[in-house]
């Protein structure tokens, strides 16, 4: 694997006095030292990274989070904020023996305004539970992702999670109205506004959205939720080449307009993998093999209007040759079956063996060129699988092999990052930097920008205890007790 970090000598190690203190604040149940539970908390979802923490804390309130952090900061104990542990870049697990602060016990819904749709809840609420709660009220969450059964809203916000509906509801930077966060020294920042508009001063909540727990621990979230519209239609389509996929996207944006709510793609390798490794799924278009599959979802308030619009668009697309075939889900069960195919790809990749996962933002017209170049480069050595949020210009490039093999890795990196950088793309569209890409930020951000990020990190977390070794490169962050790196003149 790529360069491994070295444990920061300035961090202390947990001792028995620390345990006594934590038990006093959190009670017996809030302090976890059993190996089995720690094993899970130390390992990421991909089973690619494993830490060696000996302690997990489960606070039940913002006050407890504040007390723990204040204590850890004074003792110089490094911590890892953890939610559902479904991250894909090794950002939610310890690298060494950092104390895990898991927010699962902070799972209360605090308030919901049925008129405005503003939901206020604690950071440990599981996304799927919020979706169910809102369903009863006639609303939905503005984001949806395959990990919804386990991921927590605090983690979603801290990583600025994207997902399947970003094309319709925008990113969390838009839908999060406020949040409450605790800084490294225990200071509680109450920015939990529920106002749609508030231009009073610098909007600091944006610093915590997407900074992956490195600037503070998010404890409460206030989010604007869209009303649940009754008419949802889903089409599973086939295209013969990537150019058709792009043209279909443009046509969908124009012809479907306001009712378009998702536009996803998967290539033939992704389809084959899912059908092979997951049970109970069948090919919606079994009559022939297709190179590209597209999922188009529309959400609106009038069933007849939406269905008519979608059918007219699809039939026109077939006539003009953009589509070669397709099926339309006739009920919710069929729609779920189609989504399971797209959402099941990460799981299928896990079952297939080792996977090198890349999440890139690229200009839509260039996106598949990278996939083909990668395929040409690796040949029979690996299965190059591509899928993603085509509507957002986000490619999930996955290279599947039976085992991890450094010789294959050298063919992939830094080629993928350099290619992306050359086309002014992002080396992490939505997964974040975490541990995996901690030293790769310069492929997508300028030196001056990264330096300012480091200054902000130093201001908010001078001891560097929050989620160390991640997000920003070690070259810009001073190790405590060492000289600061020389700044550019």
């Amino acid at each position: 694997m790529a360069s491994t970090p070295v444990r920061n000598k300035s961090f202390s190690t947990v001792n028995s006095d620390d345990i006594i203190y934590f038990k006093k604040i959190l009670g017996e149940k809030g302090v976890v030292e059993e190996e089995e539970k720690l094993d899970d908390a130390n390992t990421d979802w991909l089973r690619k990274y494993k830490g060696s923490s000996k302690l997990m804390l489960q606070p039940r309130s913002t006050q407890e989070v504040s007390q723990i952090l204040h204590y850890c900061n004074s003792r110089c104990l490094a911590v890892v904020p953890q939610g559902g542990n479904t991250g894909l870049v090794g950002g939610s697990i310890p690298v060494f023996d950092e104390v895990i602060i898991n927010l699962r016990s902070m799972n209360n819904i605090l308030s919901f305004d049925k008129v405005s749709g503003i939901l206020v809840c604690e950071a440990g609420c599981i996304l799927e539970n919020l979706i169910s709660f809102l369903d009863n009220e006639g609303f939905i969450m503005p984001l949806d992702l395959g990990a919804k059964g386990s991921c927590q809203i605090g983690g979603n916000v801290s990583t600025n999670a994207g997902g399947l509906r970003l094309i319709r509801y925008g990113s969390l930077h838009g839908s999060v109205l406020g949040l409450e966060a605790v800084l490294a020294n225990g200071t509680v920042l109450d920015m939990l506004g529920t106002l749609r508009k508030d231009n009073t001063g610098y909007d600091l909540k944006h610093l915590f959205i997407g900074s992956e727990g490195s600037l503070g621990i998010v404890t409460k979230v206030s989010i604007l939720t869209p009303p649940k519209l009754s008419s949802v239609n889903l089409a599973f389509l086939a295209c013969k080449d990537y150019t058709s996929c792009q043209k279909l996207l443009s046509a969908a944006k124009t012809k479907l307009g306001e009712i378009l709510s998702a536009f996803e793609f998967l290539d033939i390798n992704a389809m084959d993998l899912v059908l092979k490794h997951l049970d109970g799924l069948r090919d919606p278009l079994p009559s022939s093999k297709h190179n590209f599959y597209i999922l188009i979802e529309t959400t609106g308030s009038t069933e007849s209007h939406d269905k008519e619009k979608l059918e007219a668009f699809l039939l026109q697309s077939i006539e003009s040759g953009l589509l070669t075939d397709g099926v339309l889900a006739q009920d919710i069960n069929q729609a779920s079956a189609f989504w399971r195919i797209r959402e099941g790809i990460p799981e299928a990749l896990m079952k297939a063996g080792a996977v090198y996962k890349y999440d890139l933002s690229l200009p839509p017209e260039k996106m598949y060129d990278l996939v083909e170049e990668m395929r040409g480069c690796l040949g029979a050595e690996a299965n190059v699988v591509a899928y993603g949020h085509l509507g957002d210009g986000n490619l999930h490039l996955n290279i599947s092999t039976r085992q991890y093999d450094d010789s294959i890795l050298t063919k992939i990196e830094p080629f993928v990052y350099e290619w992306t950088s050359k086309h002014r793309g992002s080396i992490s569209a939505e997964h974040g930097l975490g541990l995996m890409k901690a030293n790769k930020i310069h492929y997508s951000k300028s030196l001056e920008t990264v330096q300012l990020m480091a200054d902000i990190k130093k201001l908010l977390d001078p001891n560097g205890i929050l989620n160390p070794y991640k997000v920003l490169p070690t070259s810009v962050l001073p190790q405590r007790g060492e000289e600061e790196p020389k700044k550019e003149a």
Partner: protein, 280 residues
Amino acid sequence: MGHLGWTDLWCVLIRPPNKASRLCTETASMRIMVAIKRVIDYAVKIRVKPDKSGVETSNVKMSMNPFCEIALEEALRIKESGRASEVVAVSVGPAQCVDTLRTGLAMGADRAIHVEFPGTLYPLSIAKILKALVDAEKPGLLLLGKQAIDDDCNQTGQMIAGLLKWPQGTFASKVVLDEENKVATVDREVDGGLETLCLDLPAVITTDLRLNQPRYASLPNIMKAKSKVIKKLTPQDLNIEIRSDLEVVQVTDPPKRKAGVILSSVDELIDKLKNEARVL
């Protein structure tokens, strides 16, 4: 003008004889009628109306009853195997039933009939309407779902078989047609296992979950469906008077399940079983 030459004989031989062919392809011209119902989508969370008069249906996703879908799929497969020539989908209900019939046409039904009636309908009324349609259309086979997921009545198939005096094979998990002997062999899922019946055609068959997996509506078929006919009728056209022998008095949620109690010792368990539950 002269005697028949070879070419004349050749022409006679290749022209298909009329009456004879009609006889041996009689079963292949069999029509299948499938009754389908528009219900609240299976995956929707049902909510009772505040006035307890029924369940909330406004702004709620409606779809074809899953068992009806299976019935239609079976009819299509029989037609595709050459044992039937036409599949007719029928539905009784309000104007929006047309949407469900369109889905049926998009799956592959040849034509559809909508008997429009906006009010509440119970199985006996449906059975009477279906009988009138069967008398008019003369299908060799009538397929229905075993029950609708909204009322779970499981009565219509049995009632119509009674009205028509046709044999019935309900809860079918397998259907095999023997066109030569004009019988259908039906495997039924019953409490004790599987029961196999042999029915003379015409017959009524109601479908169960494991009979087949319905196909998706493909875009080419959706396109073809737009030119297929949906005939509109009313119960009056069929000389049927819809009479409600039942009246729904109240609809309520089932009582909420009480939370269990976690006990701390076996002694406490025995005490509760003895003194509270009184089972010891």
